[in-house]
Amino acid sequence: MEAGTMSAEELPKTEANVLKGHEGAVLTARFNGEGNYCLSGGKDRTIRLWNPHRGIHIKTYKSHGREVRDVHVTSDNSKICSCGGDRQVFYWDVSTGRVIRKFRGHDSEVNAVKFNEYSSVVVSAGYDRSLRAWDCRSHSTEPIQIIDTFLDSVMSVCLTKTEIIAGSVDGTVRTFDIRMGRELSDDLGQPVNCISLSNDGNCVLASCLDSTLRLLDRTTGELLQEYKGHTCKSFKMDCCLTNNDAHVVGGSEDGHLFFWDLVDACVVSSFRAHSSVVTSVSYHPKDNCMITASVDGSVRVWKA
């Protein structure tokens, strides 16, 4: 992994915009593929589309019956998938704002959802200890694959071209290699809250509930580094790497935002970003920009 050259000063620490509109906690905030828009979902059961750079609210998607826990947009920005407390995965059309499909099958709340590379499959991770893959192309309502080897709630899912990676409260990060037909289970010993892939795809960052972020080498399963200093004990909180993989970003339950050096694991920067728990962080794919969502109901845009 290339070591980032960006210094701490270039980190997005200044607040560029505050996206307000959600009533109640915002649980997720995600950039789209290009980073020009962002989506947020929250306890007010809505998904909101924003232009974070201009601070404009574009659209609201309402159909969820419960809180929205995760949202993902296709690479062509045409579809959205979202999930939440209503145990369904919603498949939206971005422009019309209508629900194209609802995938029902999870026995419980759905924690995370992702499109695959071709936006043909939605993989959702549920509290029912399962990962489910849904086919967006066919009209079948059944999941095309159910992975239920997890022992506890699956909190987060990431997809690569060939793999499905998911972190679970059972302490494992499991990689399901479709091409190889195998499953790799990396037991971290601590409940995994969120996983995030490094941009080079070699590492996976797992946020554990012992207030530690752990960086794993994906090929060997080796623990590369641990990042501590924040508090993460009972909330589902995101973590991510900066777009140059130089720093690790994570929120804290006290509303702080932490930046660690990837290699040294030292806290490069930490500041109070929100008044309450930082539930979600999303880093811009190219720029030094990031968005954070918080229980305080705001989505904030940070720039260097």
């Binding site: 009533e23 109640g24 906690a25 649980l27 929250g42 306890k43 809180e67 709340e109 695959n116 590379e117 071709y118 043909s120 499959v121 509290y127 200890r129 893959a133 086919d135 192309r137 095309i144 694959q145 992975i147 239920d148 080897t149 022992l151 506890d152 709630s153 909190m155 060939t162 409260v169 059972d170 302490g171 399901f176 290699d177 479709i178 091409r179 190889m180 037909g181 195998r182 499953e183 790799l184 289970s185 990396d186 037991d187 971290l188 010993g189 601590q190 409940p191 809250n193 509930l209 752990r214 090929t219 060997t220 623990l223 004990k233 009972s234 909330f235 589902k236 309450s276 229980v295 109901g297």
Partner: protein
């Protein structure tokens, strides 16, 4: 006609001819009207209105009387109109005996009550009868405890009817029975005649007497007959016996009493006037005939009594003996208990020497606290009342301070005996001067006092509150009864420590816990020589250390464990369990680490020992420092832990991901046998299956079947582990099978290829054969073992991480034993370390399992409830869920076994280990 019906089969409902029914009806009417009534009831037949027989023999239909095939009512299924129970309340019916009696029984009752007495109207019994009936009616109206008509004897008209009065005037004596038997009637008549005579004669006074009381009459009556006309004594029923029950049946002394029930009723009324004492004495076994007896072992029952009592002419005798009337007996029964136990012929002493001494219970002092006090603590308690010595600054020398404190604690625990002992032993030792009033004596006293306060704290909390409220603060975690006190009670010898020992140990470390030596002497003499470092793994936490000591004690002593043995009551269940495991581990460390005595003689040696410890234990350093640190280290070494499983993506998923299905063209994974039982059930078929399906087996050969068997073995052991490895591979090498069935190996090669191509189309067939293959696989595996062949490992690829860990059992936490199982005796210290790890993980999981469901539910609720509030997105479930992993897993694994036949992960960890080992071999 009947026989005809038997022979033919009828369809439909036959139209009944009118004549038939009419005749039958007629017959039934005729029967009902009387013909059959003459028959005995058991000879009569039950027939319905139509004259059909309703009760058949058991072999010809059984009971079909009543409203056959209806709901048991005439209306049948016709719904009744609903009447509101609100407006029209159900009538409350008073039940009495008549409701439960048959007609027969009622008639019987009726007959009884009347009988023939009506014939003797002359004597005015009709009036009595009427009165009786009246009273009976009254009684019927107000329900009594005993339903039904009262027995005659009990009911007597309250006022004499005029007839009776007349009769009395005429000389009739009360109590003369008229109805009971012929003879009595006859007697009565004679009596009446006599009465008439009396009227005529000058015996008026006598008659008057007779009228007033029947008592004196019989004695001076010349005619001695029939004195026992029943006197209708109004005996209120005061006992709880059934009516007619004779409580004296078993007691021969009171046998006479039974006579009073007999129809003869020979007792005359005067007898009840007899004084009780007389009655008591008159109980001589007159009843049982003199000269005749029953054996000692025989029971005197009615038969005996009747035989001897009734047959012979005791009349005069009996009368002289003056049997007590029933009333007398009952009176006696009512009377004081003194008389109760008196045997006939004995008199209850009026004054007895014997007096039951009664002691009042001791008065419990107001401030009494119900805690057992034991000698040692008692002493302490006594001393608690002493004036606490003044606070003294500790001596400058830190070592001395530690020593003083240690000794004070010990003395407080063991009593002054220990103090003396140590004083004796350490006379020459200047360090112990404080014991004999030298340097630091004041401090020692103060410390001793404090320690005693501490020690007695628990047993006398109230007292302590009064005297030294601050003492409580000092020991928040004090136990109720420490092992030391217990040892004291049991009279165990307290510490017998040499001066040398103390000298060497005390200065060595600041936090030496001398108590431990003490407890050691109690538990295991051998352990006394152990170095303190090992013996005290919880130095940093004295309370914990104490608990550990107690644990050890109990461990070596056996016996029942007290409830709070594992820790203080403040600890949670999980924490306790965890601690217990720690203790177990530490205890093992103790037993393992047996160094020579010399190792602890000097501090240097101790250090050396601990260094050796470090060498011996991979993470020994942290072991000394505390298990929490060890845990950390272990965690680091244990996690992340990579495991590899086979996973079969759905073809469509591969398609959608634009990947080639790695399992394309391969048969579906064979169904797993669910349990050992299954495989056992199939056992007898193994051979057959193996021979028959040889080809199948060797064609799409796979050892997964073997896996299945192994797996079943492991399934018994709790597979706590995250995942079991299943590297079930369809393209498994067929060496074993070649080795066994080498004849047609060439064909097989071809077959394999062709088969695999065909397989997609043959999926169903494959599925059908999988079960048999399963059996065959098992068989083959066992066969291979017998032949000494090694079953080829099934690892199509090499997991890069697999060899990092030694292939020991401990490596895989799947094998975790149940928490209660005895700690295995592990020889190598390395393994021991693993053991600890195991236990750590186990504990974590166990801890979690308890509140899993609850928390899960709660978390859900949290979600729901907090969804409205802007309070926050508290992902509780993520935190709570992870607590319940073990349980979840179990559930989950079950689930998996039953449902997900498509998944191919069902190999046991055993196999996993095997394969790993194999791989290592290969690599090497």
């Amino acid at each position: 006609m009947e026989s005809d019906e038997d022979d033919f089969v009828f369809f439909g409902t036959p139209i009944e001819r009118e004549e038939d029914t009419i005749s039958r009806k007629k017959k039934s009417i005729a029967e009902a009207s009387g013909q059959l009534r003459t028959l005995a009831p058991w000879k009569q037949e039950v027939r319905d209105e139509e004259g059909r027989r309703r009760f058949h023999g058991a072999f010809s239909g059984g009971f079909s009387a009543g409203y056959f095939n209806t709901v048991g009512s005439k209306e049948g299924w016709t719904p009744q109109t609903f009447t509101s129970s609100r407006k029209k309340r159900a009538e409350f019916k008073q039940q009495d005996l008549s409701h439960f009696l048959d007609d027969d029984e009622k008639a019987e009752l009726e007959g009884n009550s009347l009988g023939t007495s009506m014939q003797f109207d002359t004597f005015g019994f009709t009036a009595a009868e009427i009165a009786r009936k009246q009273s009976e009616k009254e009684q019927n109206e107000r329900p009594s405890a005993i339903p039904g008509p009262a027995p005659d004897e009990l009911v007597v008209p309250a006022t004499d009817p005029i007839g009776v009065r007349l009769m009395l005037k005429m000389g009739w004596r009360r109590g003369r029975s008229v109805k009971s038997s012929k003879s009595t009637h006859y007697d009565a008549r004679r009596e009446a005649r006599k009465a008439f005579l009396a009227f005529a004669g000058p015996e008026d006074a006598e008659v008057e007497d007779a009228m007033e009381t029947a008592a004196e009459l019989p004695t001076d009556d010349i005619i001695q007959f029939q004195k026992s006309t029943p006197v209708y004594v109004l005996n209120p029923k005061q006992d709880m016996h059934g009516l007619g029950y004779d409580p004296f049946k078993g007691a021969p002394e009171f046998r006479d009493n039974k006579r009073s029930h007999l129809p003869g009723n020979r007792e005359s009324g005067h007898k009840r006037l007899l004084p009780k004492k007389d009655g008591l004495f008159s109980f001589k076994p007159t009843n049982v005939a003199p000269g005749f007896g029953i054996g000692a072992l025989e029971e005197l029952d009615a038969e005996d009594e009747d035989v001897y009592a009734s047959g012979y002419d005791f009349e005069a005798f009996v009368e002289e003996a003056e049997e007590p009337s029933r009333l007398a007996i009952e009176d006696k029964k009512k009377s004081s208990s003194k008389e109760h136990g008196v045997l006939p012929g004995f008199k209850a002493a009026s004054n007895s020497d014997y007096q039951l001494e009664r002691f009042h219970p001791p008065v419990v002092p107001k401030d009494f606290v119900p805690h057992p006090k034991f000698p040692a603590t008692l002493e302490v308690n006594q001393k608690l009342t002493e004036v606490p010595p003044s606070e003294v600054p500790p001596p400058v020398d830190n070592n001395l301070k530690v020593l003083i404190e240690g000794v004070a604690t010990l003395v407080a625990r063991c009593g002054p005996l220990f103090e003396e002992l140590s004083r004796e032993k350490n006379q020459s030792n200047p360090l112990f001067d404080f014991l004999s009033g030298g340097d630091g004596n004041d401090y020692y006293k103060r410390k001793l006092w404090e320690a005693r306060q501490k020690h007695g704290d628990k047993t006398k909390p109230l007292l302590n509150e009064k005297i030294a409220p601050n003492a409580q603060k000092m020991t928040p975690n004090a136990q109720k009864m420490t092992a030391e006190t217990r040892g004291n009670i049991l009279g165990e010898k307290p510490l017998n420590r040499t001066a040398k020992d103390l000298k060497s140990v005390v200065p060595a470390t600041d936090n030496v816990n001398l108590q431990f030596h003490l407890s050691d002497t109690f538990t295991e003499p051998a352990s006394f020589v152990e170095p303190t470092e090992i013996a005290k793994p919880f130095q940093h936490d004295p309370a914990k250390q104490e608990r550990f000591e107690q644990y050890l004690k109990e461990k070596y002593r056996g016996g029942l464990r007290t409830i709070d043995a594992g820790g203080s009551s403040k600890m949670s269940e999980a924490a306790r369990a965890r601690e217990r495991l720690e203790f177990e581990a530490a205890a093992e460390a103790r037993t393992q680490g047996k160094w020579g005595k010399e190792s602890k003689l000097s501090s240097q040696q101790i250090l050396g020992a601990s260094a050796g410890l470090g060498l011996q234990f991979t993470s020994g350093g942290s072991e000394i420092n505390g298990v929490s640190q060890t845990e950390e280290v272990i965690k680091k070494s244990l996690f992340p832990k990579r495991e590899e499983f086979q996973w079969r993506p759905a073809p469509i998923l591969c398609k959608r991901f634009d990947l080639i299905d790695p399992y394309m063209g391969k048969p579906p994974p064979p169904p797993r046998s669910r349990s050992k039982l299954d495989s056992l059930i199939f056992m007898p078929d193994y051979v057959k299956a193996a021979t028959e399906e040889k080809n199948t087996v060797s064609n799409n050969i796979s050892l997964p079947q073997v896996d299945a068997k192994r797996r079943t073995n492991v399934m018994d052991a709790e597979d706590v582990e995250v995942e079991t490895v299943e590297v079930e591979n369809v393209e498994r090498p067929v060496d074993l099978y070649k080795a066994i069935f080498s004849d047609d190996s060439d064909d097989e090669e071809e077959n394999i290829n062709t088969n695999q191509q065909e397989d997609p189309t043959k999926k169903i067939e494959a599925a059908n054969t999988t079960l048999s293959r399963l059996m065959a696989g098992d068989f083959l595996e066992s066969l291979g073992k017998e032949l000494g062949l090694e079953v080829p490992p099934d690892q199509p690829y090499k997991p890069p991480q697999a060899t990092q860990k030694p292939p020991t059992v401990q490596d895989n936490p799947q094998n975790l034993e149940p928490i209660n199982s005895a700690a295995p005796n592990i020889q190598s210290t390395k393994e021991f370390d693993h053991e600890i790890m195991k236990k750590e993980t186990k504990v974590r999981r166990d801890k979690s399992s308890s509140d899993d469901e609850k928390s899960r539910r709660r978390s859900k609720r949290d979600y729901d409830s907090s969804s409205d509030s802007s309070d926050g997105y508290r992902d509780r479930h993520s935190s709570s869920r992870h607590k319940g992993r073990k349980k979840e897993h179990r559930k989950h694994s079950k689930h998996r076994h039953h449902e997900s036949s498509s998944r191919s992960r069902h190999s046991a960890d055993k196999e996993y280990r095997d394969s790993k080992r194999e791989k290592r071999k290969r690599r090497d």
